[in-house]
Symmetry: C2
Subunit: 220 residues, 2 copies
């Protein structure tokens, strides 16, 4: 399976994994930086390979086979993140970029060696759970993307699933970091904006960012 296919399947998995809004070709295309047309083509191709279910104009859904493939790639990505984080003094952003490349060129054998070396960790440095060799996540994850959070509720940030520098800089500037409290004041469904209050400041996030920040409800 090619790198393009692996990235496509992974993008769907990442999008679906936290009940995100939209898993149609156009949205996946946006995440991958390709045209919608290319994504539609790819979706048809992967349906023929039994990696996902495709019906015109409907949401894309991974098959069991597709999920397994996605988990395998996600596992390698997160193992590399954890490994590079432990071994070298590099920024999380740089580590993410390296893992994004290395994940596609890593045998199951090497992944297992890395996992063993790290003592089979359950989470990567972002707080994302690492699937085991069977593609199963054994930890319970109750976090949701901010885009899915409920108005008036208060949450704690559990992770930032960053893709780019801009996002990181924005988070740093607005005190959006692991462990901090945020209260969702408004969800604008039409414009897909999320308004929140952090440290008495009000922040407005568009969907690009609100789907990258995961939070847990405060139990009181």
């Amino acid at each position: 399976m090619s790198i393009a296919i692996e990235n496509f399947v992974k993008a769907i998995y990442n999008n679906n994994s936290h009940n995100a809004r939209n898993t149609k070709p156009g949205n996946i295309a946006k995440k991958l930086g390709i045209s919608s047309a290319a994504a539609t083509d790819m979706a048809k191709k992967l349906a023929a390979k039994d990696l996902l279910h495709y019906e015109k104009y409907q949401e894309l859904q991974l098959t069991e086979k597709g999920k397994k493939m996605a988990m395998n790639i996600v596992r390698k990505h997160r193992l590399w993140e954890a490994f590079l984080f432990k071994m070298f003094d590099m920024s999380l952003h740089d580590i993410h970029k390296e893992a994004e490349l290395l994940e596609h060129q890593t045998s199951d054998l090497l992944a297992e060696k890395i996992s063993a070396y790290l003592g089979h960790p359950k989470f990567d440095p972002h707080g994302d759970p690492i699937p085991n060799a069977d593609g199963k996540i054994t930890t319970v994850d109750t976090s949701v993307a901010l885009s899915q959070a409920i108005e008036t509720k208060t949450y704690i940030i559990s992770r930032l699933t960053s893709d780019d520098k801009e996002f990181f800089e924005f988070c740093a500037q607005h005190k959006l970091k692991y462990g901090n409290e945020v209260t969702v004041t408004k969800q604008f469904k039409k414009n897909k904006m999320t308004e929140l209050s952090v440290n008495k400041n009000t922040i407005l996030l568009n969907e690009d960012f609100s789907t990258l920040i995961y939070v847990n409800e405060i139990n009181q």
Copy 2:
């Protein structure tokens, strides 16, 4: 630059680095497992990119730019070999295969981190020299491929630049390993065969194998 280009340039470098016999497209194609036609096409393309000199029916020669690129890839390959060898209990054959993939997805930054972690090693586990970050090899290498060795002379094996399992198995079977003595009894120029004596046994190698075994003359 694509992986295909990187592998092509690397194959020429590896072929040229020890005054091997033939650097025409057909031979490079053979090493890469592609057709001669594809190799000719690629050679023309890379000539246009100023990575090599191409003239019909002549040997391919890397330009300075091409050499620099090759050294960068070779550096990453050998650093990965050294790193994986140190970190994990894996066979040299498996390590080689991983390095073959990882080398193309490794930033200069990560390569430097790996190098520093290892204390900037000069050689990989096969005995191959590791170029520095500027693409220079600072150690002196007097070894030659067995295909280039001189009749009646006795040598010590300095490294096996293996690509495949078959080769490894052959070497193990015939006591061709690092540090062992071999005497070249005959070079058959026409058939490109090399005859040697190891431990009083006579071995006949074809060009596929004799170009993968590097030896140093015994100074007496």
